[in-house]
Symmetry: C2
């Protein structure tokens, strides 16, 4: 798929401009979810065919790494790669926007302060707590 333009905003939207991809990354980055069932159980109720498709795309794009769950042979383990974790600032900015402009959105404790202070440090700390996959 050849991009519609060379605008970096457009490129980002061609990858993540849908209603589900970033929610999966959110679950990995902020809720530490790693399994299909875990993503399926999120409040937004993604359909399994869409979830399957998005995980495949995220894996193909190198944002997510998939392997067997070492604690349950039936389960697969999905983890962010460093490339996937690079979207945390985008997710955070969207969370901040939603929190300040949407009526019935939850407040994420500490988010506003984090986004005002040393973001880089906060993101690094968050990433350090994640069990990233490496390729």
């Amino acid at each position: 798929m050849t991009p519609r333009s060379s605008c970096p905003i457009n490129g980002t939207l061609e990858l993540f401009g849908d209603r589900w991809s970033l929610l999966i990354l959110r679950d990995m980055a902020f809720a530490r979810k790693t399994t299909f069932k875990g993503f399926e159980a999120s409040a937004e109720k993604i359909a399994t065919n869409i979830l399957s498709d998005r995980l495949a795309r995220l894996e193909a794009g190198g944002f997510v790494h998939k392997d067997r769950d070492p604690e349950d042979g039936r389960a697969r383990r999905y983890r962010l790669t460093r490339k996937g974790a690079s979207l945390i600032p985008v997710l955070s900015e969207m969370a901040l926007w939603g929190e300040t402009h949407l009526r019935d959105a939850d407040t994420i404790p500490g988010l506003k302060d984090t986004m005002k202070g040393d973001r880089q440090a906060a993101f690094s700390a968050l990433i350090a707590q994640l069990d990233l996959a490496d390729p």
Copy 2:
């Protein structure tokens, strides 16, 4: 339309999680475009029915204000409201991500520095240069 969840990221995605809405805001915020023809002329080649639909949604959501163009009675003038301009940080973060992670994305001069320095000041300066609508 009742939101799928009260997650602020989800709420933001329900409003802007499509391939076009943020591009229109981009054109207003960064390219200073104000007319239907102007948006239509952008590199991504949006179809006119989609453009019409997105402008209507953005107006209904209070992100964009529409009036007659004072310099051409045939044209309508679309301008960001303050609420619409509040998405500039999200757009900028997406631009930064695209610029650093996508192969063939353009580089926006000064963006990386801006995003490392005093963002708030940079965003304020940008907004000051825009002719915002004010409802």
